[in-house]
C-alpha cells in the first residue's frame, strides 16, 4: 500500500511538472452540463463557444506581448453546491487555472466562492443574482444584475403595469436565488403601497407536488402570483397552478429564461412575464449584432444564459490581455476596470463587483418569449 502511494506521488509530481512545462493559459469553466438544470449549461456553452470563436478563433491569447495557447477546462457541477465546491478545488489545485468562469446560480456560487477567494483566483460568475455572492470577497465578480434590482423591477411591474395591490408568492426555501428574490420583491412591493398577502414555500427542487400551496393561494385574495424559481421547477408549477384553477397573472425572475420551461408548462405559461438580462428582440445595435451572429452559428435565438456567458468570457479574455500577466491580483484589478460594449449594454463594475445593467421584461406568448420593456437601474 505504501509503495503504491509512493508511486502515485511520484507520478503526480511528474504530471504537475508536465502541466507547468506547457506554457498556456488555462481557464476553468463550471457549468451544469448534466442534472436538472442541464439546459442552463447547454445555453451557457453556446454563448461561450460563440465568444471563443469571435475573440480567439486560433485558441491563443496575448499575455504581455507573448501569444500563449488558450485552454478551457470544463467541469460539470450538476447545479449542486457541493459538486461546485469540488470542481473549484480541482480547477485550482490540480489544473492551476488562472481564472474561473461560472458557476451559473446563487446557491452554487455561494458554496464555491470562498475557495477561489482564499486561493486568490479571480472568478466571473454567470447569473447568480443573489447580492451575497460578490460580497464573498474582492476576487468574485458576476456578469448579471442583482436581485434587489430585479426584485424591484418585477414589483414595479406588478404594481404599475398589472395594477395589482395584493400579491402571492410561491418560492423554494432551499434556494438562495429564490429566497433573495422573494425578500427584495416583497420590500419594493410593500414600499409602493401593495401588500404581499400570502407567501407559500417548498423545500427543494425535488418537490413536484404544489397542490397544497396552490390551494391556499387560490383561497387568498391575491391579484398576482410571483414565482421566483428556476425553469425546471416553474414549468411544473405553472401547469399545476392552472390545473388547480388559479387564473392570476404569473410573474417570475430570470430563472425562467430558458425555452425548455415551455416543454413542461405546455401552454400554461401563456401571458406569464419575467425579468431577465436580455431579449433577442432588443433593438440596440450591439444586441442585434449578437443575435445575428448567434443565429448564424446555431440557427436559434439566444436567451439570457447564452448572452451572460458570452459576456463573462469576453470580460475574462479582455482582462487577461489588459493585465499582461497570469497573476491573480493583476487579473482581478483588470476585471474591476472593465469597460466593454457588450450585447446587453456597456459593462462597468461598481465597488461591489456588480455590473450596472438594465433588465428587460419579457412575456411568454404562443410558447415564445416576447419583449415587453427595458428597465434601467
Amino acid at each position: 500500500m505504501r509503495r503504491l502511494l509512493l508511486a502515485l506521488g511520484i507520478l503526480g509530481t511528474f504530471l504537475c511538472l508536465g502541466a507547468w512545462a506547457a506554457d498556456e493559459v488555462r481557464i476553468g469553466v463550471v457549468l451544469p452540463i448534466s442534472g436538472q438544470a442541464a439546459m442552463y449549461g447547454a445555453y451557457c456553452k453556446t454563448g461561450l463557444d460563440l465568444a471563443l470563436k469571435e475573440l480567439a478563433p486560433d485558441m491563443t491569447i496575448d499575455v504581455g506581448g507573448k501569444k500563449l495557447p488558450l485552454k478551457l477546462i470544463y467541469e460539470d457541477n450538476e447545479n449542486k453546491p457541493e459538486i461546485t465546491a469540488n470542481a473549484y478545488r480541482k480547477l485550482i489545485d490540480q489544473d492551476e487555472v488562472a481564472v474561473i468562469i461560472g458557476p451559473e446560480s446563487s446557491s452554487t456560487a455561494l458554496a464555491a466562492g470562498p475557495i477561489a477567494q482564499s486561493a486568490g483566483i479571480p472568478v466571473v460568475t454567470i447569473f447568480p443574482t443573489n447580492p451575497k455572492v460578490t460580497q464573498i470577497g474582492d476576487y468574485i465578480f458576476r456578469a448579471c444584475f442583482i436581485d434587489p434590482f430585479q426584485g424591484s423591477v418585477m414589483a414595479k411591474y406588478a404594481y404599475n403595469d398589472l395594477n395589482a395591490r395584493k400579491a402571492a408568492i410561491l418560492y423554494n426555501n432551499g434556494n438562495d436565488f429564490s429566497k433573495g428574490l422573494t425578500e427584495f420583491f416583497t420590500r419594493t412591493f410593500e414600499e409602493l403601497g401593495g401588500k404581499v398577502v400570502i407567501v407559500e414555500a417548498y423545500g427543494g427542487s425535488d418537490i413536484r407536488d404544489f397542490n397544497a400551496q396552490f390551494n391556499n393561494i387560490k383561497a387568498s385574495d391575491a391579484e398576482v402570483l410571483f414565482m421566483p424559481n428556476t425553469y425546471f421547477e416553474s414549468g411544473l408549477q405553472m401547469h399545476q397552478a392552472r390545473a388547480a384553477g388559479i387564473t392570476l397573472p404569473l410573474i417570475g425572475g430570470d430563472g425562467w429564461d430558458t425555452p425548455d420551461l415551455v416543454t413542461i408548462s405546455n401552454g400554461a405559461e401563456e401571458g406569464a412575464a419575467y425579468s431577465c438580462a436580455f431579449s433577442h428582440e432588443s433593438t440596440t445595435p450591439q444586441a442585434q449584432k449578437f443575435v445575428e451572429a448567434y443565429r448564424a452559428a446555431y440557427n436559434d435565438v439566444p436567451n439570457s444564459n447564452a448572452v451572460l456567458s458570452y459576456e463573462a468570457f469576453s470580460i475574462v479574455y479582455k482582462a487577461i490581455e489588459a493585465a499582461g500577466s497570469l497573476d491573480g491580483a493583476s487579473i482581478r484589478d483588470a476585471i474591476a476596470k472593465t469597460k466593454l460594449e457588450l450585447p446587453s449594454g456597456v459593462i462597468e463594475f461598481d465597488e461591489e463587483r456588480n455590473p450596472k445593467k438594465p433588465a428587460v421584461i419579457v412575456m411568454y406568448k404562443g410558447g415564445k418569449t416576447s419583449y415587453v420593456t427595458t428597465v434601467n437601474p
Binding site: E200, G204, D206, R208, N211, A212, N215, A243
Partner: protein
C-alpha cells in the same frame, strides 16, 4: 369543509402512489429481509418505459401502464438473479450495500444512453384533464380519479394474489420461514423472483401514475419518491402489506395537510411523523414485533 375535502383529495391521490411503491419495499423486505434501495429507480424506469411506448407506438393509457409494469418487473428479476441471489447467504449488510450500488447504477446508466440522457422530458397527457365539482369549490379531476382507481384495482389484485392463490400461500410461507418452506417443497428461488416481479411492477405502475399527475420525468425522479415510499413502508410497519398501504396513504395526507398549514416545513412533516411513530411503536403502525427464532 370544502377546503378539507379538497386537501383530502390531494393527499389521497399522492398517498396511493406512495402506497404502490411502498408495497415493493415491504414485500421484498418481508421475504428476504433486504431493503431494496434500488426499488425507487424502478419508478423512473416504469415512467420512461411508458414515455417511450406512448411516443414510439402511439398507444393509450392501458397498454402504456402495462408496458411500464412489465419492463421493470422483468428487469428486477434479472437484477435479483445477478446482484442479490449470490449474496443471499452472506451477511445482510453485503446485500444492502449491493442494493445501494444497483440504485446508483440504475440512476446513472440511463443518463449515458443518448435517447434518455440527463434532461427532463414532458410526460404525454394520456388522460384528458377534466374537473368534476363535488361540493362548492372542491373539485376532483380525471387524473386524480385515475390514480385512485388504478391503485385500488392493483391493490385488490395483490391482496387476492397473496391471500387466495397457491403462489401467495407460498410467499407467505417463505416470509414466515424460508428453510421450513423449502423443506415443504416450495421453490424458494422462484417465489423470491415472483416477489421482486410484483414489487417492481407496482413501482412501474406508480411511476406512470406519478408522471401523469406531475408530467415531468428525468432519471433521478425515483430517488426522492423512493425515499418517501420507503419511509411510508417503515411508518406502516415494514414487512406488512396492509401497513404499506396505510403508511403510504397517511404519509400523503399528512404531507398535504402539513404543507397547507405551514408550507415552510411541510415537506419535512413525513419525517417527523416517522420519528414519532418509531419512538412509540418501533415496528411501525401495523408491523409485528420481531420474534427471536431459537
Amino acid at each position: 369543509m370544502e377546503q378539507f375535502i379538497q386537501l383530502l383529495i390531494y393527499g389521497v391521490q399522492l398517498g396511493v402512489i406512495y402506497a404502490l411503491i411502498a408495497l415493493g419495499y415491504t414485500m421484498v423486505y418481508g421475504i428476504i429481509n433486504l431493503i431494496n434501495f434500488a426499488h425507487g429507480d424502478f419508478v423512473m424506469i416504469g415512467a420512461f418505459t411508458a414515455f417511450f411506448t406512448v411516443n414510439l407506438a402511439g398507444v393509450g393509457f392501458f397498454p402504456a401502464i402495462l408496458a411500464a409494469m412489465l419492463f421493470p418487473a422483468v428487469l428486477s428479476i434479472l437484477i435479483e438473479r445477478l446482484a442479490y441471489r449470490p449474496l443471499r447467504d452472506k451477511p445482510r449488510l453485503s446485500a444492502l450495500i449491493t442494493a445501494i450500488g444497483v440504485s446508483i447504477f440504475l440512476e446513472n446508466f440511463p443518463r449515458m444512453i443518448p435517447f434518455i440522457g440527463p434532461n427532463f422530458r414532458r410526460f404525454p397527457e394520456l388522460i384528458p384533464m377534466r374537473h368534476f365539482y363535488l361540493l362548492g369549490n372542491a373539485s376532483i379531476n380525471t387524473i386524480q380519479i385515475t390514480n385512485i382507481a388504478a391503485s385500488s384495482v392493483l391493490l385488490v389484485f395483490l391482496i387476492f394474489l397473496v391471500q387466495c392463490t397457491k403462489v401467495g400461500r407460498a410467499m407467505r410461507a417463505v416470509a414466515y420461514n424460508k428453510d421450513a418452506a423449502a423443506l415443504m417443497g416450495v421453490d424458494v428461488n422462484r417465489i423470491i423472483s415472483i416477489t421482486f416481479f410484483i414489487g417492481a411492477a407496482l413501482a412501474g405502475a406508480g411511476g406512470v401514475l406519478y408522471s401523469l399527475t406531475y408530467p415531468m420525468i428525468d432519471v433521478l425522479m425515483g430517488v426522492w419518491l423512493g425515499t418517501k415510499a420507503f419511509i411510508a413502508a417503515v411508518f406502516g410497519g415494514i414487512g406488512s402489506i396492509p401497513g404499506a398501504v396505510l403508511g403510504g396513504l397517511l404519509m400523503g395526507i399528512i404531507e398535504v395537510f402539513a404543507t397547507a398549514v405551514y408550507s415552510e416545513l411541510g415537506y419535512g412533516s413525513g419525517f417527523v411523523v416517522l420519528i414519532l411513530v418509531l419512538l412509540f411503536r418501533p415496528s411501525g403502525l401495523l408491523g409485528k414485533a420481531p420474534l427471536d427464532k431459537v
